[in-house]
Symmetry: C2
Subunit: 244 residues, 2 copies
């Protein structure tokens, strides 16, 4: 069982979501809180997985299992230390996206704020596309933009968003997007397990970025769009404000 | 000279911004690109700091100087390995926020999308407040919400945002916010330099988060709001769309 399986297994997801939410009341993972109270309330006692409590201070950077411990950023079993640390960050970010979109209907996923806007559904597809393109680029060495036809066909529009995205990406339910997110992330994690920290530090001279930077960008890019998803969520017809 | 000094020194900032922008054409750090083309164009050749080119693959995790190498995520001189890696991520994120808001006028910083919205200025203040409160909480051990009166007075409204923020945070120019961001981040980095990786793994049992998670949250929280800033930027009166 891996963290990413929260995308496919309702029970697994709910467990993970409860683990996160209970530990961070008042923080940005809990969109049910009032919009006016970001990051400020006293956290309630943690009531989630006891494994989180059992990791004593001082046991620094002992790899922990991948299927729990969302609040423990650090190495993960099955990965090199720095890759595992990034994997823990990616799982933390992904849990926020899943939490932000939980229970959304097709109509909500297709909501357009205005004629410049992207839908929440299109942004979810876009996040999956980002994983897929960085996978092709960093693991297979494909030059950016020179994608195989099948990859381009499946993810090209979602990567571009904009007018084409508004036309083409609609009418899908939440599971459609969650499955794409799961599939692309699983593929990414499978490749990460084959690599080591030296690989993370290889610099692409054309970009001026190392592989760590490219994949950290994929990670923080989810934060970027999660912020937008929360902003749009507050403006869905009939919506209550959520903390943005 | 430290990365954060890009906040105070125009020349330093422009150098850093050019370094980043030139390496990531088509990626999310270059808001002048069309809204419809996120993360998709072929990156142009990197024309920035030659130090980035000179780091050979295989020299993994040799700490690099703090004042350059924005595209190299990894250890930084003067910090323990994991803290330095997080510092490099925080600098990468901060450069995006600075890039997103570059040249904004007071009127643009005070723009309200609707009666639920936060201004871009308020979000910048909020990011500084986040640094300040996590500083009090993790470095000084202050329980969340039990802030010293002076800290509460300076940052409380910005942390809350919402109605109070809309009333109180306005009429400031960009430098006002950048100075707050610089001041709080400098204070954070000064404390990071005194700590080690063991400290990062200490778990707050009430939260279920280790210190690494708390500060990673501060980092990705900038991505969250940067996404919102870019969305708002496209909707400023007279604005062209920017890649969101």
């Amino acid at each position: 069982m891996r963290i990413i399986n929260q995308l496919s297994g309702r029970r697994i997801f709910l467990k993970a979501a409860a683990t996160v939410a209970s530990g961070i009341t008042g923080l940005s993972l809990l969109p049910s809180l009032g919009f006016s109270q970001p990051l400020t309330e006293s956290p309630r006692s943690f009531s989630g997985d006891e494994a989180l409590r059992s990791l004593p201070p001082g046991k620094d950077f002992r790899p922990v299992a991948e299927d729990k411990n969302l609040g423990i950023i650090g190495p993960r079993e099955g990965y090199s230390p720095q890759i595992g640390t990034l994997v823990s960050m990616m799982a933390f970010m992904r849990s926020q996206v899943i939490n932000s979109t939980k229970g959304m209907t097709m109509e909500q996923l297709d909501f357009l704020l205005d004629d410049k806007a992207n839908t929440i559904g299109a942004m979810l597809y876009h996040l999956a596309a980002t994983d897929a393109f960085y996978h092709e680029h960093t693991f297979k060495g494909v030059e950016w933009g020179k994608w195989d036809a099948a990859v381009q066909k499946k993810f090209g529009v979602a990567m571009e968003l904009g007018d084409e995205g508004r036309k083409a990406i609609k009418g899908n339910n939440l599971d459609f997007y969650l499955n794409l997110l799961q599939e692309t992330r699983e593929n990414t994690l499978a490749e990460f397990r084959k690599r080591d920290d030296k690989w993370m530090m290889i610099v692409d001279k054309d970009w001026g970025w190392n592989n760590y930077c490219k994949w950290f960008h994929v990670c923080e890019h989810e934060g970027n769009h999660n912020g937008q998803i929360k902003l749009l969520k507050s403006r869905l017809p009939g919506a209550k404000s959520v903390k943005e």
